[in-house]
Amino acid sequence: MTEGFHRPQTEMIPNRAAPASSVGIVGWVRTNLLSSWVNVGLTLIGFYLIWLIVPPLLMWAFFDATYIGTDRFACEDRVGACWVFLDQRFAQFLYGFYPSEQTWRVNIALIMLIPALAPLLFDKMPGGKYLRWFSLAYPFIATFLLIGGFGLEEIPTNKFGGFMLNITVGLAGIFLSLPVGILLALGRRSQLPFVRIFCIGFIEVFRGVPLITMMFTAAMLLPLFLPPQMSLDLVVRVIVVVTAFASAYMAEVIRGGLAAIDRGQYEAAQALGLSYWKSMLLIILPQALKYSIPGIVNTFIALFKDTTLVIVIGLFDILNIGRSMVANPDWLGLGIETYAIIALSFFTVCFSISRYSLSLERRLDTSR
């Protein structure tokens, strides 16, 4: 056998590694940061911005900050942030004016929220069937815990405040607006002209006006509309208005879900001899709601952010508590710190919900 060019290749040549410049960290940097001269420039500008913003921000927020004290005078000789109020006013930010010896009720209601939401958020839950009943019962349990009665000390709703008020109004709004929204969406697609006109009118009016005007309506007009002896609690009035407002948006989201369902499903339900309500409840709505979940979640995020509007009618949600604290001589000039903390609270909740909704969207998309 001569050494030469005609020797047949009997073995596979092993795969060669990709060029070092296109894999690993180097490759990633080359394709994502330095792919062209423009991109090199943009990357440099990006690094410059980070260098400009991040170190001073960290210094301000953590290293130069003051954490311990009783009022703002503890921070007078510091250049960084003043987080003293967190220690001093934490309970108020969370619970408002809820009596401090009763706040365990709020905590329990919040903790019970996790098993109540779990079966709605995740498909495969051990014991999900029973948890679902718990989810249905949760609003009543939570209402009982927060307001009291039947042995528990009764707490008037004007003591509600802080982040707990935002969460209460937001959750009550979404929970109540879902059934109303479904009815409105079905009504808008109804064959019956009066039902349709009423639903269109309701939806368009509430979607067309700013929530703030509705808040004023709740605060100033509803008492005019009701008999003098029947006085509705302000928080209840706010929940009514927020529900009406959110259900108009919810109706449009669900209408989109209803429209996404194939005609054949409606026809098959009719062919099986199901009545309108049965075909809706058993065939159409379960599918339509599944398609509307991302929209429903987005409505909830919007609603939750909008709960800060209760400020205009004088309720003390977390934003109003912060705002009035900043106006207090003991805490004057701590606006940026206070609002940063409140912003962070909302961001945490809304961002995690929106991430969840994104992952859900992807999951629903593949199942189609």
Binding site: T31, N32, L33, S35, N39, L42, T43, G46, F47, L49, Q191, L192, P193, F194, V195, F198, E204, V205, R207, G208, V209, P210, I212, T213, F216, T217, M220, L221, P223, L224, F225, L226, P227, P228, I301, K305, D306, T308, L309, I311, V312, L319, R323, V326, G333, G335, I336, Y339, I342, A343, F346, F347, C350, F351, S354
Partner: protein, 392 residues
């Protein structure tokens, strides 16, 4: 199924007849609404009677007795409630138009940057979008207002190039003064714009019919900018600026924008901008990759591909949600009330407290915002039907 219909259980009854059932349920609905409305109206009448108030819009002609700190038209505390509401409405429109312009720019830039293949750039745009849209707008407005009112006092204003001054009373900047002849320049520019619109319509129709191109971009730029600028120079620059001069207590000359307006405008821009960025991103992503590839295969340059293939198709997806974002911005501008910018809702609220005519004021609010919203949806329907014709 346990509940199969038992034969004959209800046949022939009114319940099995779909039409009859429909009529009955509608009668019940209408009856219910009438009953509720009657209940509310009768309550309202008793309540109003007890409070000694009368319904009616006559109060709009009464003297308002309150000041408004920013008025685009002449207004004083001796003016009427009607005029006060008009001033408020103009303030709402002012901040909305300003916000729509800047939010569109921010939104388009950020939406495109978010799709950049540069990791750093797309991440930074992403941080902006997620950071602003997950925080309540009301909080953002209050935050910026806190920062702006925390600026130095008038005497220690921060100066930018000896022309723009920042202080806790807002931003003071040079005011343009129109001298005789400037009107002519503006008229020329407007006429140029109209002619340019006609020309581009004609050019695109001719291109569709004959395939011949026309350099409408250059002709139009000339019409809109070159002629007015030439005329401006010919007439001896009939525009000057009233530059603010710092005095001992206050400025002389220039224009002042209140911190309320700036905070509201800035917050609305950032907040709505993040939603517009998402809309733009979705719109561009909605254009199929094959479109870009086909355009490259036909030999179009990347810029041409973007301008003539991707953007026209993306706009179809972008415009409807964009108009509803504009409407949202206009509605959200009513949050002005918390920082004391006197917009339509804020002025209405003051008028309501002064006059006690709450029902009428709320009715005016509803009427105005509903007409804005109906006008927007009319535009959206018109646009949708127009682009539907273009579709294959």
């Amino acid at each position: 199924m346990t509940d199969t219909p038992k034969p004959g259980s209800s046949s022939g009854s009114i319940w099995t007849n779909e039409r009859a059932r429909g009529i009955v349920s509608q009668v019940l609905l209408v009856g219910g609404i009438i009953a509720v409305v009657w209940f509310l109206v009768s309550n309202t009448n008793t309540n109003l009677e007890q409070a000694g108030l009368e319904l009616g819009f006559g109060f709009l002609a009464d003297q308002a007795f309150f000041e408004i700190n920013q008025n685009l038209i002449e207004y004083s505390s001796t003016s009427t409630f009607g005029r006060a509401l008009l001033v408020g409405l103009l303030n709402t429109l002012l901040v909305s138009v300003l916000g729509i312009i800047t939010a569109t720019i921010v939104g388009f830039v950020m939406g495109v940057l978010r799709l950049s293949n540069n990791w750093m750039v797309s991440r930074m745009a992403g941080i902006y979008v997620e950071g602003t849209r997950n925080v309540p707008l009301l909080l953002q407005i209050i935050f910026w207002w806190t920062i702006l009112t925390g600026l130095p006092r008038v005497a220690d204003s921060l100066a930018i190039g000896n022309a723009v001054y920042l202080n806790n009373r807002g931003v003071r900047f040079p005011a343009p003064i129109l001298e005789p002849g400037m009107g002519l320049v503006i008229v020329t520019a407007v006429i140029g714009l109209i002619v340019a619109l006609i020309i581009s319509g004609w050019a695109s129709r001719r291109r569709v019919a004959t395939g011949q191109g026309f350099p409408s971009l250059w002709v139009n730029l000339m019409l809109i900018f070159l002629f007015p600028v030439l005329l401006f120079l010919l007439l001896g620059r009939p525009l000057s600026f009233d530059v603010p001069v710092p005095g001992r207590f206050n400025f002389t000359g220039g224009m002042n924008v209140t911190p309320e307006l700036v905070a509201l405008w800035w917050a609305l821009t950032l907040y709505t901008g993040s939603f517009i960025a998402e809309t733009v991103r979705a719109g561009i992503l909605a254009v199929h990759r094959g479109q870009t590839e086909a355009a490259y295969a036909l030999g179009l340059r990347p810029g041409q591909t973007m301008r003539k293939v991707v953007i026209p198709q993306a706009l179809r997806v972008i415009v409807p949600p964009l108009t509803s974002q504009y409407l949202n911005l206009t509605k959200n501008s009513s949050l002005a009330i918390v920082v004391g910018y006197q917009d339509f809702v804020s002025v209405g609220n003051t008028a309501l407290n002064q006059s006690g005519h709450s029902i009428e004021i709320v009715a005016i609010w509803l009427a105005v915002y509903l007409s804005l919203s109906l006008a927007t949806s009319a535009f959206m329907n018109w646009y949708n039907s127009r682009i539907a014709l273009v579709e294959r």
